[in-house]
Structure formats: C-alpha cells, structure tokens
C-alpha cells in the first residue's frame, strides 16, 4: 500500500498536498481499491468555496458511491478535467494524474490537524 510521506490525510481517505497556498486533493490508494473502478467523479466548479470536513463532490464507482470530503477550506482554483474523459485515472494513479481539485486555502493552520502518513497507515493497516 503506497502512502506518500509528503502528503497529509483524512480519516475519510482523502489526501492533500500543499504548495504555498494551493492545496491539491485526491483519494488514497486504499480508497480507490475499496471503491473499485471509478465510473465518474462529480467535482465543484472553479470559484466554489469548500469547507474542511464538508463534502465537495461525489465519486461513483462500480462497487459503491462515496462522498468526497474536503481536507482543508478554501476556494476551488482548478479541477482535474482529465477525470471527465478518463475517471479511472483515480484507480491507476491516485496520487498523481488522479488528483481531483486544487484549492486556494484560507487557513494554513488546518494542515496541522490532518493525519500524517504514519497515522493514516495505521488506519488502513
């Protein structure tokens, strides 16, 4: 199970990468395995405000449907349009090409409240 050290995680199996004030969200390798083949991902429009621990989208997969929870609060700056035509990028490359949204964050303090890789790996171990 791949759980990159440089990312942080939620107990709902989202990951977040932080680069200055831009946070990138996605779901973990464990999550994609549990959901099975992703059929489509419903993402918010650019400009929408998302709130930490609140749903920001939906992921439909062959085995289950699941809500996506925002790891941090902010305004959606970019969404991964590739997922529209190839949603299984989430299965093939959950931490890379399968990213979902980039959010301009407004509370950097939220980063410290997320799970580090060591904690998250205990959750799915």
């Amino acid at each position: 199970m791949i759980i990159p050290d440089k990312l942080k995680y939620t107990s709902e199996h989202e990951w977040v990468a932080l680069d200055e004030d831009i946070a990138t969200f996605g779901i973990t390798e464990y999550a994609q395995g549990e959901l099975g083949d992703v059929v489509f991902v419903e993402l918010p429009a650019v400009g929408i405000k998302v709130k930490a621990l609140q749903p920001f989208g939906t992921i439909e997969a062959v085995k289950a449907v699941s809500e996506l929870f925002a790891p941090m609060s902010g305004e959606v700056a970019e969404i991964n349009k590739e997922l529209e035509t190839d949603p299984m990028l989430v299965n093939r490359d959950p931490y890379g090409q399968g990213w979902m949204v980039k959010v301009r964050i407004n509370d950097p303090g939220e980063w410290d409240r997320l799970l580090p890789a060591s904690e998250y790996s205990k959750l799915v171990g």
Binding site: V39, E42, T58, K63, V65
Partner: protein
C-alpha cells in the same frame, strides 16, 4: 489472526488459494469467501465480452433428484416442463411458493439416471428444506452442494480454451446441453451454459479434481489471454443480458409473470405449485412488470433507488450499473403495467436528483455470443 478466522461459518471454495495468489479481493458472499474482483470489474467484464474469462462458481448449490417419481416431483415443484428434457438437456426454471412468489430460480439438468438442480448459493438451505418438505414417495433428494467445485469458462473464445483440456468434441454440445467428458485422468459433467450472454461452459468437479482442472484451464487459457473473473463482473455481465438475480430482481414478493419469466412457466404440463394463481395473473395481466431502463448522462442507478413519474414514486430499481459494454447507465426495476411500454419515460432518483430514463427492449447488450 486474520479477520476471517473469527467467523467459523465462512467457507472456502476448492479454488480459494488460487484466488488469493492471483491477488483477488475476497469478500464473504452466501457463506463463502469469494473473489469479487482480480484486476478490475470493467476490465474483467470486457474480457468476457470480447475474449474469454474463468469464474469460480463453487458456491452454487447442486441437488440430485432420483427414483421412479423424480420427474413427477420436479414437475410439481418447478414451473417449466421438465418432461420435455431428453438426457443431456438442461432448462431454466422457477421454484414457486403457493402464492406465486419465487423461492428460487434454477437450472434443471436431465442426466442419465437422475436429475440435477443447480440453485443459487444464498438459497441452498432454504431450497433444500422447501423441496424436502414436499418430497413424495419414490423420489429421493440429495444435497451435493459441498461436494462440487464449479468452474465456468465464458466468452466468445471459451470453446477454444476448453477444447485444449479434452479430446471430446465440444461442438457436439448445443446450448443448454451437457455431457460427461474426460480431461486427463478425470471424468466430469460439463454444460454449455452460463450467466453472461456469451458462449461458455460450466464444469462440475468433485473436490479431488479441482486442483488439476484449475491448472489445466489456466494453462489452456494462456494462449488466449484468458482472464480470471470475479463476482463483480459476473453481476454486470448478467445485468446487461437482463438475467434476473435472486434477491435483487426476483424474490418471494415477485412472481414469474411479473418478472417477465412466463416463458419458463408451462401452463399446459398439468398441475404444479402456484399454477392457478400464475395463470390467473397472466390472463388478467399483472399489476407491475420488471422492465429495462436506459439512462442518459453521468448517473449510476443502484438497487433500491426510487423510480418516479411526475411527483409519485412508482417503483424501485432492482439492479443497476454503469454498463461497461454500452458505456451508459442501465437498470432493471418494476413499474406499474401502464408505464411499461417501450419508450415510456420515467425518472430515477439518485441521491435527491432525478435522472430521465426510458423503457427499452431487453437485453441491453445485443451482441452476446451464446448459441
């Protein structure tokens, strides 16, 4: 200790170790640990449609009925006309309760000196008790479910794979027929049947044959890039063919007439369980019928979602998926008779949003290679 050793009622099939070695995701299903997927449901689904795949179906139940009154007993308990079967023929049939509700759907095999019933894994105990409680003198009923491993090879290239493991001319087995064949030192029953809409075979193996036949099929399948297929793809394959799944599309609250299975109810074979109620329902037309729906757009209809007309809930989705072959959402569900005409529009409520759907002619997938 792994999580499964805690529950001692979960059984493993004879092929369990091969699934684990192949990296399958194992889930408890009908009392067995079964592979739900190996590499991915979509990929496995398309492999069966376009090429060939192998399934472990050892969880299915097998009963044998023998004795001078075997046929009479089967005729009384099932809806189809088993007297039409010649040795080696198979028919799809239904077990009904006296009120017309469905106990189970099943296959009836006529073998040389007995009949074999193949029933759904989740219904083995219920079916056995049901049959036993109606058993007549001169008919003998044996539950052999635990003795058999069942391997299915399905897909347009299924015959090419299976013909590698036997000298028997498989071309001589028509659809819904069976034969006893030899492979290496083993002799077993094989039928040209399946739950996928594609050509294919199902092999009934006693425990001691299972290792040899698994390996033989894997080797035979290599040349054809045969994939291992889990229960996830089995479900989407059968759904694309509008094949009913017990517990989803049919159960004790639905009748064969409502479910569009009148073609396996033989009213002219004489009396049988629920005959008069089913005949009345057929003549008066059922109040609702199981129909096929196609949806547009990015929707994933699932079991239990409401079907809506205007502002009224008029039915529920019984099975649904995003069809891997058609690349669109499809569903089955019951609608009031007046709404079941082809082309009729209805909405499917998916998490508080309505998605337009239209009644279409079954099956969803029309290019199946089954004969």
């Amino acid at each position: 200790m792994d999580e499964h050793s805690l529950s001692d009622n979960i059984k493993e099939t004879p092929f369990y170790k091969y699934h684990v070695a192949a990296g399958a995701k194992m889930v408890p299903f009908a009392g067995y640990l079964m592979p739900i997927q190996y590499t991915g449901i979509t990929e496995e689904h398309l492999a069966v449609r376009k090429n060939v795949g192998m399934f472990d179906l050892s969880h299915m139940g097998e009963f044998e009925i023998s004795g001078p009154k075997a046929l009479e007993f089967i005729q009384m308990m099932t809806t189809n006309d088993a007297s039409k079967l010649t040795v080696g023929q198979i028919q799809y049939s239904i077990l009904c309760y006296p009120d017309g509700g469905i106990v189970d759907d099943l296959l009836v095999y006529r073998l040389t000196d007995k009949y074999m019933l193949v029933v759904n894994a989740s219904n083995i105990d219920k079916d056995f008790e049901w049959l036993k409680s109606h058993l007549i003198e001169g008919a003998k009923l044996v539950n052999r479910s635990d003795e058999f491993g069942l391997l299915a090879v399905q897909g347009p290239n299924a015959q090419k794979v299976v013909s590698q493991i036997t000298d028997f001319d498989l071309e001589t087995i028509p659809y819904y027929n069976c034969a006893v064949i030899k492979s290496g030192k083993h002799t077993f029953l094989i039928s040209r049947t399946g739950y996928t809409g594609e050509d294919g075979f199902e092999m009934y193996l006693t425990q001691e044959m299972c290792d040899d036949l698994w390996k033989a099929c894997i080797v035979a399948g290599r040349k054809f890039d045969m994939k291992l297929i889990g229960l996830g793809a089995r479900d989407s394959l059968r759904l694309e063919m509008k094949m009913a799944l017990y517990g989803n599309d049919i159960d004790k609250s639905t009748t064969p007439i409502e479910a569009g299975l009148a073609w396996v109810v033989s009213f002219d074979k004489g009396d049988f369980m629920a005959r008069n109620i089913l005949l009345k329902q057929k003549e008066e037309k059922p109040k609702r019928r199981l129909i096929c729906l196609e949806l547009e757009g990015k929707a994933f209809p699932r079991h239990g979602y409401d079907l809506v007309a205007g502002s009224e809930i008029v039915g529920q989705v019984t099975s649904g998926t995003f069809s891997p072959s058609l690349q669109k959402p499809v569903a089955m569900g019951y609608l009031p008779l007046k709404m079941t005409a082809l082309g009729n529009a209805v909405d499917v409520k998916i998490r508080d949003r309505l998605f337009p759907a239209v009644v279409v002619k079954p099956p969803f997938y029309k290019e199946g290679t089954h004969r």
